[in-house]
Symmetry: C2
Subunit: 441 residues, 2 copies
């Protein structure tokens, strides 16, 4: 059956009246949660946005993820974007969302401090994510389902194709999306809340007992942080292989610590533990270095993954064009929100590169499940070689936390982007104001 | 004669006691100074830093350049770096400057909002530039001369080679610098305040009479902004060629407005006006696109230039490796200050690509003359195909403004980085406080 075509007119006759911006920090550095070779003591944090509008009780919640210090810089940037938000009618945004995204990222003065990268782009992500949460709540659907029901033309109209047309044109993107409707039964089945891919689980700082626990809970993929000392890395890889055996994938993550030669030499010494891939072996900006590493490590059967700090669609485009990685790790908060991520998912679809979202931190798992689900239903059509990262912390602060069953994400069903934190958590962890920062310092 | 070798111990027994941070904005949008296809109404601005230290009356002044809105975001980021500045002894910084630079850019929490790009890297540039101004004042030399007198080992020790060693190692860099000492007479001559290359002059918004005036003043290179409408561009190129003739270079600048195909098609239609190069034809992040455009336009004899928004040394490395541009346009304020720029100058030297600094804005001309002079004296050894951009405004706010004579920069002789603004200008133009913003709004 043919997919829906054309563009409908969205109704959301509400004018944004207020944008709250909060600096929310969880003092995770105390327990060294999520520390790695480059980020030794992160406080998982969020530059958090709440959009209010006249005429509706609904609100749009969104955020970008940060590591503690610097969140105030990002909230300052979010406030700089308020001029594009407050006073706007939501339906005017949603009916020309691609154009709105370009407007938001093209301010004649503000673009200089990016463009489309770093702090100002993280701020864009927070605002855009909140607009998507708002839209999905108005439509009464989770974001992934709102997207999956759109016609190819509607999806393509969400995207700013500036700087992409040498790789994918809007017309090509429509064709790609249309082709996935050929078997409507299969598509329907994909959208019926199937378990979404096996999760991976971080294990760098987990004890053997925690690893065993995860294995018993149904997790089938494991990841270990590497990069400091090769002997330490060998010992930890060996310990994890002892527990999980060699039939389950083990992934490695170096968090950008190496130059090209170091990456190749170091990973060659871990090859006997059969890592599926090495993630972020070097600078996230270095397409050429990733390609060199990828070519060298293919001799050892080790793939290369990156993307969590890839700064925008132009960089993803070049990684994909150059075949510089095997696994495309989108992040929900670094590039400019859902709209720009859609362009990456479509380009990865064109090149046949699996999209495996980066997650963890605070709230990243909640968001990326929507993106992975959309990719599965509407673009890739397969779960083969696809999975979503999972880390088991800070989910208790969300109203609609991830549902992990037998090591699988279960697609969310509540309206929105699963981005909304509990009011109490927002109050308690607001930096400099909440009781977690004023009484426990 | 052999160059000085080894590393001396620098003396600067002063502890930084205070870092002032100012948001200084010049309301240039009123006159549309410097507007282009992407930045239609910039207010040339600076996130401005003044370093005070115990035991000396000298101060270090530095800044990063911005376009108005967003300067507050950058000053917030600069304050986030204060922890690496106040309380430090200057000589400890200068005696291990490369290591200090890495420390400044590798904070476990702050690096997440870059890394090494956007707002946090602009803030790094402001701080590093102020440290260089301070150092040069303490040594009683202009920055270019301080650098040019250093041994190869000293220069290399200023640089963080992380992510660069697949292209240039510290040892190679020492060799490259050492080779330029072979003819000491020539080197000495180069350092004797020779006129530094012809300037280019922006002409997009200049009347024919202004262009003629510049020609009479000795300018030999001209640049025109293009990219909006091809007929307009043809008319303006023709008008300028009428005045300057075809024996003087005419450059074109599109400020990132095009995708690949548009760039090629548009420039092909300007080929009859013999542009020397097209600057920033597309996204500053798109190495591959620049290469495609460069290959296509070489048929028309048009070169490709970029770099003013290239975000760090890793991106420059890839542009150079891929031969994606013909002209390397370093900026003094976007990448992390003098230390990181040195690595770009060295890589460009290795690849034989001319370094032609981007300037204009506010204070960029003052800073880049030091970088170009160092490149000439110590790295490239030639002025062939090298020039520095020049725009004639806002120099009156500086204590040591550029000296342009007969269309040439004359190398500065006063100690420092020529970065210090007049106290009155700092007072009058401080955003939200100075009389230019409180009485004229």
């Amino acid at each position: 059956m043919a997919p829906p075509s054309g563009k409908r007119v969205w109704k959301a006759p509400f004018t944004i009246s207020k944008m709250e911006v909060k600096d929310v920090r969880f003092p995770t550095s105390k327990g060294k949660h999520g520390s790695d070779a480059m980020h030794k003591d992160p406080d998982y944090s969020a530059a958090y946005v709440v959009l209010h509008a006249e005429g509706t009780e609904l609100k749009g919640h969104g955020f970008t993820f940060t590591l503690g210090q610097g969140t105030d810089i990002v909230t300052t940037a979010v406030r700089g974007l308020e001029q594009f938000v407050v006073g706007r009618r939501l339906e005017n945004i949603y009916n020309a969302f691609g154009a709105y995204w370009r407007e938001l990222t093209s301010h004649s003065q503000l673009r200089w401090i990016g463009p489309e990268k770093g702090v100002i782009h993280l701020a864009t992500a927070a605002v855009i994510n909140a607009l998507w949460d708002f839209w999905a709540k108005i439509e009464g659907k989770p974001v992934w389902e709102l997207l999956s029901c759109m016609s190819p033309e509607e999806i393509v109209s969400l995207i700013d194709f500036r700087y992409l047309t040498d790789t994918i044109t809007p017309e090509e993107a429509v064709e790609l999306l249309r082709s996935k409707w050929s078997d409507e039964e299969a598509r329907k089945k994909r959208s019926e809340f199937v378990p979404l891919g096996p999760c991976s689980i971080l294990s760098s700082l987990l004890s053997s007992s925690r690893c065993l626990e995860a294995l018993k809970a149904g997790f089938t993929r494991f990841k270990v942080k590497v990069g400091q000392n090769v002997e330490d890395d060998r010992r930890r890889c060996a310990a994890i292989r002892d527990i999980i055996g060699y039939d389950k994938p083990l992934m490695t993550d170096a968090n950008q610590v190496w130059d090209v030669k170091e990456a190749i030499t170091h990973m060659a010494q871990l090859a006997e533990y059969k890592p599926l891939f090495i993630e972020e072996p070097t600078s996230p900006d270095d397409i050429h270095a990733h390609l060199t590493i990828r070519k060298a490590l293919s001799a050892y059967g080790i793939k290369v993954a990156t993307g969590e700090q890839c700064c925008n669609r132009v960089m993803f485009k070049q990684f994909l064009e150059a075949r510089a990685f095997d696994v495309c790790q989108i992040d929900s908060c670094r590039i400019g929100g859902v709209n720009e991520i859609l362009s990456v998912i479509l380009m990865a679809g064109k090149f046949g590169v699996p999209v495996c979202p980066h997650a963890g931190g605070v709230g990243l798992c909640e968001l990326v499940q929507h993106l992975a689900m959309f990719d599965f239903v509407a673009v890739s059509g397969t779960l083969e070689n696809r999975f979503i990262e999972f880390v088991d912390h800070l989910h208790e602060h969300f109203l609609d936390p991830v549902n992990i069953t037998n090591g699988h994400y279960i697609a969310p069903t509540l309206p929105g982007y699963s981005a909304e934190m509990k009011p109490q958590s927002l109050d308690d962890y607001e930096y400099g104001k909440g009781c977690m920062w004023t009484t426990q310092q």
